[in-house]
């Protein structure tokens, strides 16, 4: 039996090579229900208890009837979507398995912007008059500046 460290690095290498969702190797992937990433079912995301707070928040939010996790957290243009799923899948599964992530979990800048794009995607009609200020540095209105709890709290 190989020492833990080597096992991990091997698995990561293996995952890296495959470059497919979940990353940390087929076994773990299945075991951890990594297939979550292929499913729009919110419960899928919270196979990882580390995300229970966000799931609980979502259950309280006005969006529980209208938007699932992936609606906000994954891009919705064909290819991009699969790339992001793979990237998420790898990063989250790896982090979860190695337990080397910072808590509370903090959304990355990239994902934050991704979410914002999804807000506008659904609410375009409503916010078309305000969503952008053409010709100005950082002209796009940051929905999360006011709606931080959207998707995860009473505020939406």
């Amino acid at each position: 039996m190989l020492p833990a460290m080597t096992r991990r690095s091997l698995a990561l290498l293996f995952a890296g090579l495959l470059g497919i969702p979940a990353g940390v190797g087929a076994f773990t992937f299945v075991y951890a229900k990594g297939f979550s990433y292929l499913s729009p079912d919110p419960r899928a995301c919270v196979n990882c208890h580390v995300m229970n707070p966000q799931y609980d928040g979502w259950l309280k939010s006005g969006h529980r009837h209208t938007a699932t996790c992936v609606e906000c957290h994954l891009p919705h243009a064909g290819l991009q979507k699969w790339v992001a799923k793979a990237e998420h899948g790898f990063r989250h599964s790896a982090a979860f398995t190695l337990q080397n992530f910072k808590e509370p979990i903090e959304i990355t800048q990239r994902d934050r912007e991704l979410v914002r794009v999804n807000c506008v995607r659904c609410h375009e009609a409503l916010v078309q008059a305000v969503a952008d200020a053409p010709g100005r540095a950082h002209g796009e209105l940051d929905c999360l500046h006011c709606h931080t709890s959207a998707g995860h709290g009473a505020g939406g």
Partner: protein, 433 residues
């Protein structure tokens, strides 16, 4: 639901069609209203009289027609402004609709000589500036500032049309071509440039360099700021070259050797502070968190299928759900209670600081009666100048403590320290004898 959203999209298609063309010469908001009726309708509401516990009392309780007279409500104001126009007539603020009207009506203008500089923040004045400056706004601004108030106010263009007709209006905050936010007040543009230079950014131009979120505060910072009229040209100037903190601005004035007026009772050379909302907000946790003036004073409101900015600029306490609740998920009652907890505490401390200041004035007056000369009262006068500047900086700020509770309490503590030391110095002169 989806169909629901779909229908909305249909409606929305027709939003903001430019029916009329608006240009740099379109000062009249009525014209803009044809393109942007929603914003115009709320803008007109600034004519409504509103009241909150400490907010501006639009209707003149004390004398009909005009806003409430602060001098009657807080008699100590008369005392600390002795010898200055503000001891004559000093009222509550009210909605933007009244900006021009109230300026003309105040006895500070009707009974005292005032310069054209006053107009910078009380009228939609770009056409005036461009006309006088022959196309050059900056030149026009400088020349208008130096004119007597009435002359500037009654300027007419070549066709004999009056150039100053409208209060704060669309043109002042929006680029008529793109509708993007912009700042137009020469005083602000020069002031923010000097501030950024001090902070290490050379040649700053807000209309070019500011983010959208910054602009949502800058447009207000055009007017809700401390200012003075510099030199014989009476150029409206924002004293920010040294920073925005109360002592940084004070240091700026000391370097300039500037004085607004001489106190009638004590003979001390004093400074006047005006509505430093922008400066005070910049010291609070909301500004740290990137919360802009417009976030609270012009929150989005849902108008049919559209979300638009509420142009009824007013006290957020009249609109807590939109102004606060998107960020603070607590009841309106609790939000109001939090504001009042801050304001009541602040108000009591302000009264205490005012008492210390008038005690100092009493002491200097009786010292003079007892024969103390200017030389003897030098130390007392120095304290009077510091105390008055700080007291006024807080009293003239319009949020009754909310914009930066700890910072404003800190400044009031300094008022008391300087006022009581001024009192000590004054009493000592009589002891010396």
């Amino acid at each position: 639901l989806l169909t629901n959203i779909f229908e909305r999209k249909q409606e929305a298609r027709q939003a903001f069609v430019r029916l009329v063309d608006v240009t740099e010469d379109t000062a009249d908001p009525k014209v803009w209203s044809q393109n942007w009726p929603l914003q115009y309708d709320s803008y007109l509401r600034t004519a409504q009289a509103t009241t909150t516990k400490y907010g501006g009392r639009g209707l003149g309780a004390s004398d009909g027609g005009l806003a409430e007279q602060k001098l009657d409500r807080d008699p100590w104001l008369k005392r600390v402004f002795a010898g200055y126009a503000f001891a004559l007539d000093y009222r509550d603020r009210r909605g933007h609709y009244y900006a021009l009207f109230d300026q003309e009506a105040t006895r500070r203008v009707t009974e005292r000589q005032q310069p054209g500089a006053c107009i910078q923040c009380h009228a939609s004045n770009l056409p005036l500036y461009r006309f006088v400056g022959k196309g050059d706004v900056q030149k026009g601004f400088e020349q208008v500032s130096a004119m007597p108030y009435r002359e500037a106010r009654e300027m007419k263009d070549d066709k004999g049309q009056p150039l100053v007709q409208h209060s704060v209006a669309c043109l002042d905050c929006h680029d008529p071509k793109s509708m993007a936010l912009r700042v137009t007040r020469p005083g602000f543009i020069a002031g923010i440039k000097a501030l950024k230079a001090k902070q290490g950014t050379a040649d700053y131009d807000p209309n070019r360099d500011a983010t959208r979120q910054e602009m949502r505060s800058f447009v207000c910072g055009q007017c809700h700021v401390e200012y003075y009229f510099k030199g014989a040209g009476k150029t409206v100037t924002y004293p920010w070259a040294n920073g925005l903190k109360v002592e940084e601005i004070e240091a700026y004035y000391e370097r300039e050797g500037f004085t607004d007026w001489v106190h009638a009772e004590t003979g001390t050379k004093l400074l006047k502070a005006q509505h430093p909302e922008f400066e005070v907000w910049s010291q609070g946790v909301h500004s740290r968190a990137g919360v802009a003036c417009a976030d609270c004073h012009m929150p989005y409101e849902r108008a049919g299928a559209l979300k638009v900015s509420d142009h009824w600029v007013r006290s957020p306490l009249l609109n807590l759900n939109r102004a606060c609740q998107t960020c603070h998920a607590v009841s309106e009652k609790e939000l109001e209670a939090r504001v009042l907890a801050i304001q009541d505490r602040h108000h009591a401390l302000l009264e205490r600081a005012a008492r210390a200041t008038t005690d100092m004035i009493d002491a200097i007056v009786s010292a003079k009666k007892a024969g103390a000369g200017e030389g003897d009262l030098h130390a007392a006068a120095a304290q009077h100048r510091k105390a008055q500047w700080r007291l006024d900086f807080v009293a003239a700020e319009n949020s009754m403590g909310f914009h930066a509770p700890q910072e404003l309490a800190r400044i009031l503590a300094e008022v008391i320290d300087h006022a009581r030391q001024g009192q000590l110095e004054a009493e000592r002169t009589t002891r010396k004898k």
